[in-house]
Amino acid sequence: MKLTNILVPLAGTAIDPDIIEYAIALGRSHKAKITAVHVIEVKWNMPLDAVLDAELERGEEILAHAEKVAEKLGAHLTTEVLQAREAAAAIVDTAVEKGSELILLGMPYRRRLGRVYVGRTVEDVYVKAPCAVLAYRQEEPK
């Protein structure tokens, strides 16, 4: 598969640097453009374009960190902050708009009720995305 555009949603978890590194490794041979997005989920009792300073600052911090990781690896990253009601829908729509061939998702290792917890966003993106989706699950902590 020829990759020209890879979308990497980042949530500010410990595996963010790993998925950036992985996306760069995947995209390098294809000279693919890598876009990292952070989606702020806006509650229904607020307007979609409400100025959420704290969330926005955190989002920018996550993306700035991702840019630094990419810079150290000699790659360039395009970054975007989005606000949406549901992160998954915003990720899928952005991937469609940008013509991304791949969405690379990160899953921190979490357990709930004795099972590995995948998370709503990862599950929804898997189901709804028209493009390829790759989920990178963090290894089990020792």
């Binding site: 989606v39 100025v51 926005l56 600052e57 920018e60 989005l82 606000q83 949406a84 469609v96």
Partner: protein, 679 residues
């Protein structure tokens, strides 16, 4: 499929540095908002952070300059990456030890040059004096290990002396080091050029120019940042050590095997014209002590090392002392053993003659000469890291202009680097690039700094009394005595040869630094707000005066801005005659009307600025409660060269008003191509 919503929300606070773009999704209810950053800014924690984009020039010339600057100095480095710019032990040794290690290339020569004045009898003292200098070196290195232990934040002699002995001794140490750093650059570069002229005598007439070019190259290298300078300059430092080590190894092998070569004779021998005396021996010792220069650099720059900085700095200091001691001993021993004599014409160096004697004048001779030339030039690199760092500490303590404390695009103290380059190049030109002319100025500063820091440390240990303080105090006391004696010897023996100049410059520097501090202190007293004070900002309505030369779009632009500031606006026109005044009044009445008052001043002597200033005095009337604001309409031409076609009245007025009390000047530029702003 996406549709972009209205770009701006009028309700949104104007300080929000982003634009919100609403986009619909594939399904109803999946709308999302893309947050578009304003060019050059992004959010930080409770602040707006300016990104590198704001520094990107928009004009073609600006972009060309930016590209050139990036090629020469590299990309800008943000402040947060300071820790990544620190030095490893390998690069640290290359940066901080290059001065000291390179001294091995000329320490023996300086020693022999003085002793040669007493002929062969004098030269017999080469080895005993070499050993004496190595002993002093061991004491100084041990003492500086104590400095690193006690002051891991760096600063070296200045910090130690000022914290423990007082401000004046601290400033004396700083002045001594600053002078020494400048001299290091000049001497090292002159020494490097000498190594080139040894191999290629035809370069001799151009030695000053070549030296200045080397200083420029070093300046560019150092403006690229300390880490990069370390990486670039590490290779040559180790190359020198390795190549001289090979020469020494072959030399020692020939001594052991009894294969003593015939020494290469220099173009002209030094004529013995002095009897051997204690004074001559002391002078030779002080000349050879030049090899100790640069020993303090590591202790000065501890924060430049990667963590654990103090430990890494200590390892580098020990490695530096060991390398220098070994090379110096080896060169002196073999030079004495093979009967090498210094060159009176300064065209051939002792190390060059020794290499030629041992390995002949084949390729390896040129390799060693090249390595020596490069290390001698790079020795100046130690100063390029030491001088700006010390100057920044002095600037932080307000003893030097604040510019010295500011870091440049590559986190280097650029101003200090440029000042060092300029002064050392000037010195090189004044002394015609002669090593022998510059050496007498050298060394004294180093030893003053050594002595003061050791004495300061004795005081430190006596006060702190930390475990094992007795041993530390003992080491530093010995260091203070030994280096103090050497300081006196150097000062006495080299006084007439040029050391007087250094001794005269140092008090002057101390006085200047003292005055700089007093200036900043006075300014601070005037500007300082008491820490606990809650200030009530009173409104002070100004009187706005708009000088109008001609009633045009530019002046109307200034008038409307003035109106926005305050309703109390007065337009002032200066006319050269009554006719012109009447004509201007008529035009004013037609265009502006009576809603804005106009004062017309007739100036029969065709002066513009003086009548306006006097008029402001009259309006002001000594009433300091109402400030005067002068709004100046200024026409900005499209091209820089078009500025010559205008008489720059606004600029002259600005300069004239700059020192006027109670007066603020607002520059209202008019860009002829900015159509949007004109309506």
């Amino acid at each position: 499929m996406s549709d972009v919503g209205p770009p701006e929300d009028p309700q949104r606070p104007s300080h929000v540095p982003e634009r919100f773009e609403r986009t619909s999704g594939r399904r109803i209810g999946d709308a999302r908002v893309k947050i578009v950053r304003r060019r050059g800014f992004r959010r930080g924690r409770g602040v707006i952070v300016a990104t590198e984009e704001v520094l990107e020039p928009t004009s073609v010339t600006g972009r060309a300059v930016s590209v050139l600057r990036e090629i020469l100095f590299g990309k800008r480095i943000p402040s947060e990456r300071e820790s990544e710019e620190r030095l490893t032990k390998v690069t640290g040794l290359a940066i901080f030890a290059s001065d000291n290690i390179s001294s091995s290339a000329y320490a023996t020569e300086e020693l022999m040059r003085a002793l040669a004045l007493a002929g062969a009898v004098g030269l017999a003292f080469t080895m005993p004096l070499t050993v004496a200098i190595i002993v002093v070196l061991a004491i100084v290195v041990t003492s500086y290990l104590q400095v690193i232990k006690a002051y891991p934040q760096g600063g070296g002699s200045y910090v130690v002396a000022s914290r423990n002995l007082g401000v004046v001794p601290g400033l004396l140490a700083a002045a001594a080091l600053l002078v020494d750093y400048v001299l290091t650059v000049s001497v090292s570069v002159a020494g490097g050029v000498l190594a080139i002229t040894t191999a290629f005598p035809e370069v001799d007439p151009m030695k000053v120019g070549v030296g200045v070019v080397f200083i420029v190259l070093l300046t560019i290298g150092n403006l690229r940042g300390i880490r990069e300078a370390g990486v670039v300059f590490a290779g040559p430092t180790y190359f020198y050590v390795a190549s001289v080590a090979v020469v020494l190894a072959i030399g020692f092998y020939r001594v052991i095997s009894g294969d003593i070569p015939t020494p290469v004779v220099p173009p002209k021998l030094i004529e013995p014209d002095e009897a051997l005396s204690a004074f001559l021996i002391l002078r030779a010792f002080s000349s050879g002590s030049v090899g100790l220069s640069g020993t303090e650099a590591v202790a000065n720059g501890v924060p430049a090392f990667r963590e654990p900085a103090a430990r890494n700095a200590s390892i580098v200091l020990i490695a530096m002392g060991t390398l220098f001691g070994t090379l110096f001993f080896g060169i002196s021993f073999l030079a004495t053993r093979f009967g090498i004599q210094p060159d009176a014409t300064e065209t051939k160096s002792v190390i060059g003659l020794l290499t030629q004697t041992i390995v002949g004048d084949g390729t390896f001779f040129y390799v060693v000469q090249a390595a020596t030339a490069i290390i001698l030039v790079l020795a100046a690199n130690t100063s390029f890291s030491g001088f700006p760092r010390l100057a920044s500490i002095l600037a932080t303590d307000r003893f030097m202009p604040r510019q010295f404390a500011q870091r440049g695009d590559r986190l280097a103290f650029s101003f200090g680097i440029l000042v060092l380059a300029a002064v050392s190049a000037l010195l090189l030109v004044i002394y015609g690039g002669s090593v022998n002319g510059l050496i007498p100025l050298y060394t004294i500063g180093v030893f003053i700094a050594f002595t003061l820091s050791q004495a300061g440390l004795v005081r430190h240990w006596l006060r702190e009394r930390t475990p094992g303080w007795q041993l530390s105090a003992g080491i530093n006391a010995l260091g203070a005595v030994v280096t103090g004696v050497v300081t006196i010897v150097v000062a006495v023996t080299k006084f007439l040869l040029g050391a007087w100049l250094v001794l005269a410059v140092m008090p002057l520097l101390i006085y200047v630094m003292w005055r700089v501090r007093r200036h900043y202190q006075r300014i601070e007293d005037e500007l300082l707000i008491p820490r606990a004070a809650r200030v009530h900002l009173a409104r002070r309505a100004p009187r706005v005066i708009v000088p109008i030369a001609r009633l045009d779009r530019s002046s109307l632009n200034a008038l409307s801005l003035a109106r926005g500031i305050c309703p109390d606006v007065l337009a002032v026109h200066i006319s050269y005659d009554e006719e012109g005044a009447a004509s201007f009044r008529a035009r004013w009445a037609a265009v502006v009307g009576p809603e804005m008052p106009l004062e017309v001043i007739v100036s029969p002597y065709r002066a513009l600025i003086a009548p306006l200033l006097s008029y402001l005095d009259a309006v002001d009337g000594g009433d300091r409660s109402r400030p005067i604001v002068v709004a100046l309409a200024e026409f900005v031409p499209n091209h820089w060269w078009e500025a010559a076609l205008h008489n720059q009245t606004a600029l002259r007025l600005k300069l004239a008003l700059f020192n006027r009390k109670n007066t603020s000047v607002i520059d209202v530029p008019f860009h002829p191509d900015d159509e949007d702003a004109h309506h």
